[in-house]
Symmetry: C2
Subunit: 648 residues, 2 copies
């Protein structure tokens, strides 16, 4: 039933070398700092030893679901290592990974079951609470790790272990007599099973993923059934509603992105996988519907998702508070995963526009410039004492919100590491006759079209400017389409092939150059990148009267370091010229935006909180402001930050 030969497929990260430029630097930091720092934290927090069946794993003093998903953290770290080793061999990392894999292998039970917590701490509770206890979520991350580590090193140990575990799950769960009709409260295993299927060729894994996707939310709800089996009242579910885990109704009936944002996007990514692998038109429509709802009503300018701490997720359309934005790093990462699949399901640049928005803003803000500190929540305004990650607790932080080395629930750091390590895999896609170029960064790619080996070299200082040079090396002249993405943010561009201007308009986001390509052909693309004042949909009540600066894919912010405090009082005059320039001193050289703003502050306060405006005089002090890329905020002196700026 599956004929996907017409569909684009991502060119593997094995075929794309990034050694310089923006992503070259980010990947180097990821390899040299982030991945080792996470390993240290895995060791320190007991997560590595937690796999060692010869060691006693202590029962936590207080039972916390966080202890139940340690395996996913190791899994994501192993996945990052797998990708990294593919392009950058590193004997230390490989040894650490191999040792960990050996422990994981030993922890696998005779029946294939594999979970450090439910083997060593609560063996009696295996598979008793799919809703809350993350067993399949852990399984999914280990499957993704197994696939990546196999791709990166050719070593099959983990892949075989996880295949056995997948077999175990496949026996336990499904529609057949004697099987449980369950699925995981935290989606993840669905997309992982598709990867496992794609890597091993075992079709049962695809069938199982398809089952999980379609069974979810059906009545009677499995989470009700298993709650009663435990002797619990389903009404006592702490999150109060299965919308939290997107299990309130079958996916085919769902109209809006809802609940926990990471769960939502992992699920939707799995839905897209199944739609693609099974050519399911209805699931394609569901995917488009949820995509439009999410990106057109529930997404921050940064690609952040999920404004609320309470459910780590969505609230309602246009509800996008800035200061208390939860916008979990993992949610933006999950959006990247989903967007990538959406393109392959429904080839259109609009998915990559969102992918790029999330990647350069809400994802990258999750890690410090030096690589070993992380944000969990990614607010768009930061003010002293406001901590969007903890503001529920009643104790506001006395300090400025800042990146942490680790978290009690450390899902974000290794998630970032695996995405940055695999970013090469997001650059290109290919069909029988078309090569899509999605992202821009200096790199060298090689692939085959019509059995001709082709090398494509891309040179650019993107995202700091929009000048991009391509050169092709071909064994022989070959007819195919080079499809260059014209980003949604770009309203003017120039394109040349071998010095000849091309005026083709983009179709579905890509200018498609179909020709007999010759060796040494050159393409140059110049994306005009003016500073834009972005405004929000008028129903985003928090952003009324304010603008955000964006240039290319980069969203900017004001920081106290450059602009002083009380940023709420800074106004951008409607007609103030805005200048983008490369600041070579800043973070290795990044574009900044400068201009003339005003700081408008009432005078003559005598201690009252309120006074009549008629007795008030204002100062209007000119401010030479400087805006820096949002993703780099909180890397210097602690202080206020603001993306949306008052305008008058």
């Amino acid at each position: 039933m599956n004929d996907n030969t017409h569909r684009p497929q991502a060119i593997s990260l094995a075929n794309v070398r990034i050694s310089e430029g923006f992503w070259g630097e980010r990947q180097a930091v990821n390899r040299d700092r982030t991945i080792p720092a996470i390993y240290d934290q895995l060791v320190r927090s007991g997560r590595i030893d937690g796999w060692d069946v010869t060691k006693q794993r202590e029962r936590p003093k207080k039972r916390s679901v966080v202890d139940m998903f340690w395996d996913s953290d190791s899994g994501k770290w192993l996945e990052a290592v797998g990708y990294s080793l593919l392009t950058h061999p590193n004997s230390v990392l490989e040894k650490q990974a191999d040792e960990l894999i050996a422990q994981i292998q030993k922890a696998q039970q005779a029946d294939g079951y594999l979970n450090s917590y439910f083997t060593m701490v609560e063996p009696e509770n295996r598979w008793r609470n799919l809703r809350d206890w993350h067993e399949m979520y852990n399984a999914g991350h280990l499957m993704e790790a197994a696939v990546a580590y196999y791709q990166g090193t050719g070593k099959r140990t983990l892949l075989d272990v996880l295949s056995r575990y997948a077999d175990h799950i496949d026996q336990r769960f499904g529609p057949r007599e004697g099987q449980k009709r369950g699925y995981c409260g935290h989606p993840e295993v669905e997309l992982a099973l598709v990867k496992l299927y794609q890597t091993t060729g075992e079709r049962r894994y695809l069938t199982l993923a398809n089952y999980f996707i379609n069974e979810r939310g059906k009545q009677p709800n499995y989470f009700d059934i298993e709650a009663r089996e435990r002797g619990d009242d389903p009404a006592d579910f702490w999150a109060q509603n299965y919308r939290y885990c997107q299990a309130h109704e079958p996916i085919r009936d769902q109209q809006t992105a809802t609940g926990h944002a990471v769960r939502a996007c992992y699920l939707y990514a799995g839905v897209a996988d199944i739609a693609l692998e099974t050519d399911d038109q209805e699931l394609l429509e569901v995917s488009r519907r949820l995509w439009d709802n999410l990106t057109q009503t529930q997404m921050y300018l940064t690609g952040g998702l999920g404004p609320a701490h309470s459910n780590e997720g969505f609230t309602f359309a246009y509800d996008l508070p800035n200061e208390t934005a939860y916008a979990e790093t993992c949610a933006s990462i999950a959006l990247v995963f989903w967007a990538h699949r959406m393109f392959h399901l429904d080839p259109d640049g609009r998915y990559i526009d969102v992918l790029e928005r999330a990647l350069y803003n809400g994802v990258l803000s999750g890690v410090s410039y030096e690589g070993a500190h992380f944000f969990y929540a990614n607010p768009l305004t930061s003010y002293p004492n406001v901590n969007p990650y903890e503001h529920w607790s009643g104790i506001t932080s006395e300090r400025h919100y800042h990146r942490e080395e680790w978290f009690n629930c450390p899902c974000c750091p290794p998630n970032l590491a695996r995405l940055v390590a695999s970013i090469n895999g997001y650059f290109y896609s290919i069909t029988a006759d078309t090569v899509y170029i999605h992202l821009y960064n200096s790199n060298h790619a090689h692939f085959e079209v019509q059995e001709t080996a082709i090398h494509l070299d891309q040179r650019t200082n993107y995202p700091w400017d929009g000048e991009i040079q391509f050169s092709l090396q071909l064994e022989q002249p070959t007819q195919f389409t080079l499809a260059l993405r014209i980003p949604g943010w770009c309203r003017d561009y120039e394109l040349q092939v071998n010095g000849t201007k091309i005026s083709d308009a983009p179709i579905a986001g890509y200018v498609r150059l179909n020709r007999q390509w010759q060796n040494e052909d050159k393409v140059s693309l110049s994306l005009k990148m003016p500073v834009e004042r972005m405004i929000s949909h008028p129903q985003v009540r928090m952003d009324v009267g304010q603008v955000a600066l964006q240039r290319g894919p980069i969203v900017y912010c004001l920081e106290e370091s450059d602009n002083g405090s009380n940023l709420a009082s800074v106004y951008l005059p409607q007609d103030a010229p805005l200048t983008a320039s490369l600041d070579k001193e800043l973070f290795g050289g990044v574009s900044v935006i400068t201009g003339d703003a005003l700081r408008i502050v009432p005078l003559q306060w005598k201690g009252e909180l309120y006074q009549p405006q008629s007795v008030t005089q204002y100062t209007q002090s000119p401010l030479k402001f400087k805006a820096i890329p949002y993703y780099l905020w909180a890397n210097r002196m602690p202080g206020e930050m603001r993306v949306w700026i008052q305008q008058r």
Copy 2:
């Protein structure tokens, strides 16, 4: 040690008759609707039967601290009835109250202990958790009820019961050998013991209140001690920090208003009582310091307090979010209590300015115009799906935020009822030679100065206009000072005595007319009441660029009923004339503010959430806006509401 003869004392509500005007109407609604409606809810929720020792009170399925403070709800209702009977005899109410008091009397234990929950449900847990379980808080409300009911009816039953209970508490708690050095996690008993002392003359009650005030927050912290005695780890305190209950340090060391807002203001009211009764200069300074901190950095324009749901309380200076403002009705009521005491401790109109602000705005908004629906949280902006009372739950309300008939924790409705029923007691204060006039509303007061009976008649349509006429009836000419409050909001006024203009400037908020007053003397005061555009302190980042309309003591708001939806897009031009007029059709006749505003909305949205401003056109549609008093919002069609309005 106590010489308070020089200090003003409130003229008892027994001596002030309000039969018409603003408060005449509010008190009638309170008597006819609110107090009976609350009684019905007390019955329906089991709180009346909960006192009946012959009935089995079921142990709640889930233990909740809310079940532990039922007694306070009956107490506040009885207190309201007591005040109401004083001026308006009502045999139905009195019978209900007498029957309830009879049950309460029967519920008192042989040792004087009195608590329905810890007698009938968890007798084993009496006095085991002062931090959380509200026993003394309940006691305090019953003491206040006992005093009010005695004042209102002359019946001593409840007063005697509560005196016995106070004796019990006095034996159990204190500094002496064998006593527990405890105090209540929720302050209230302190101010109530002072009332009980003032009514019974029993000095031990004052001493005990003084002890509670001064012991609070000392090291070793009693809450730590009792937690360990229960076998609990003090670190497991759910609120995480004793700032929540103002027990983190001794009151004399406290610099800022902190924690749960109602607890804070009840405590501070008790501190003021003790400072006054014991002439404690240091406690006076503490009171002034906390007052200034609270009113100058942590109070909404409406007199609302406590922006955060998480602790039902304070966060940090200038943190006053509007949409999620918790601003519990009880907190504004508590502020009124504290302000009233502060005036008597430190006679200055600035305290009454705050009292008046809270009263006409953040307090009255807590009850519907018809009197039987209540707000717990009082936000300054309301938007569909945003429920400041529940926004922590992860489930946003699908509806507009609206007043409820009752709450799981119904502290606010009876608190409102007792304040409105006793508002006459807030109008005047008296010393040996001065009569202070604090509040303006038609009323008739009688009192004695220098042993001369004086009747003071006040006629006005305040707060809808500022024209106030006084006439005096005296048995004989008498020399004294009539001190008329010039409200802080008033920048221009005219004052005449018997038609002769007086140009004395106010001192500490009062124009002091010292003379030999004659029978039939007339005073007329004209407080100019223009519409003011109020602005917030520049550090209130949420209100930057916005104004709120205020006229006299009344804060105004825009409602969707009058102005359509999407109020965030409404701009008030800087120079737009604003007109106040009496709308006789609206809520029995209230002043409204009208004028010309603009609704500025970007056009050409094609589904995106964000677009460049440079490609955007705006509509600027003129809007004849109408603002109504804030306290009356949500009494008509459900919809948006906004106090702070964009200005350009």
